[in-house]
Amino acid sequence: MTDVRTTLDRVSAIRGVRGAMLVSAVDGLVIADSLMDGVDGQAVAALASSLVGRLSRATSAAGMAAPAIVHLRAEQGSVLAVPAGSDVLVVAVTGADANLGLARLEMLDVARGLA
């Protein structure tokens, strides 16, 4: 678990990233997290897993492959989710000024290490 935490710290250390976490894609529960104060990890986990689940059903209906990266962009920030295998999601919450490209690369790296 320490290794996982260290890996998540790498993501959350990126400029503008408010936190990173591993989430069970099956039930939306937090597996591990590295979050700034004020970020509701349980809510992020539940919402991210639900969003990715619904999106996966939509892409399946469209005959597309399952999402490898999901990026919800909002006025004040973003939520990024990267499936690591079928059971785990790497999720990050960022502010509007985040280095999204770097966050994306680190998250893909974390996901590869877990899959």
């Binding site: 992020v44 492959a65 490898a68 999901v70 990026h71």
Partner: protein, 302 residues
């Protein structure tokens, strides 16, 4: 804070896996604290995703907060766990009735009636039946307002995709006046992918125009639209709960293809898909232009 709520909060803090959150959430909403109840319910559903009562609690709180769509999703989640859940059938019956979809309201209330013989529920069913009979009588003469407007909740997750797709197509045929059908041809006129790669839907998952085809060249627009209504609701909810402001887009990179979801207006959702050779930035530009076209089209047909 009342003693009972304090005691339950303490119990939950000691044992986060306890089901006392159900009682606590209900007590909070009854005391007029729906925002606090929402946190309790969200944590409860996250910890007990297979517990239908947890989704039922979440739905009732969402309903109290005036978020009928979120309540709808939560009650559907409850039924996926327990297809005979009394609270979910009552809640969905209420939502369908409020939305004007009387046949579905009646179906859910009658399923609730199998477990609840209270006079209040019986009276409710009688009222829905009367309203339905009036609507059916007027439909003989002309299409009802509900048919012309499209029913507010098209997504019934107990139906399979094929059934949902067929239902969507059947509704489209009844719901769209001829002038609107003709106008649809103009929606994405001139855009690459006007018939395959751009899809405009309303927030209830009904296709407004454009289309999506799968690898077998089969039109899958209705099934995709039905799923995407849930995605956009989830995006709204996620952005709101994380204080991120209004959501602007959802992009999914899916191997050989990419998907871009945006909201040209508060009431509509636009799906743009392209193969992976189109860079994400360009996909956003295409989606933005298609969104502007959708807004112009909506102004013309409304």
């Amino acid at each position: 804070m009342a003693d009972d709520i304090r005691a339950m909060t303490a119990e939950l803090a000691t044992d986060p896996g306890s089901r006392v959150f159900l009682e606590l959430g209900e007590a909070l909403r009854r005391r007029g604290q729906p925002e606090v109840a929402l946190k309790v319910a969200l944590a409860g559903t996250a910890r007990h995703p297979a517990l239908a009562d947890a989704h039922d609690l979440l739905a009732r709180v969402q309903s109290d907060l005036g978020d009928g769509e979120a309540a709808f999703d939560a009650w559907m989640d409850a039924l996926q766990t327990d297809p005979s859940h009394l609270g979910a059938h009552k809640g969905l019956g209420f939502l369908y009735y409020r939305a004007g979809d009387l046949p579905r309201a009646l179906r859910h209330l009658e399923m609730a009636r199998e477990q609840d013989d209270s006079p209040g529920l019986a009276q409710g069913i009688a009222r829905v039946r009367e309203a339905l009979e009036r609507e059916q009588a007027s439909a003989v003469a002309e299409p009802s307002a509900a048919e012309l407007a499209g029913v507010p909740f098209s997504l019934d997750e107990t139906e399979d995709d094929a059934g949902r797709s067929a239902l969507g197509a059947q509704r489209s045929a009844h719901a769209e006046p001829p002038s609107r059908r003709a106008a649809e041809d103009d929606l994405f006129n001139g855009f690459d992918g006007a018939r395959d790669g751009l899809l405009l839907l309303d927030h209830n998952g009904l296709r407004l125009g454009g289309g999506i085809r799968n690898a077998d060249n089969r039109d899958v627009s209705d099934a995709v639209a039905a799923h995407l209504a849930g995605v956009s609701r989830e995006a709204v909810r996620t952005a709101r709960l994380l204080d991120l402001g209004a959501w602007q887009s959802v992009v999914a990179e899916c191997g050989a293809g990419n998907l871009h979801l945006s909201a040209p207006t508060d009431e509509t959702v636009l799906l743009t898909t392209r193969d992976a050779s189109v860079p994400a930035g360009r996909l956003s530009v295409i989606a933005e232009r298609a969104g502007a076209a959708a807004r112009r089209w909506l102004e013309r047909v409304s």
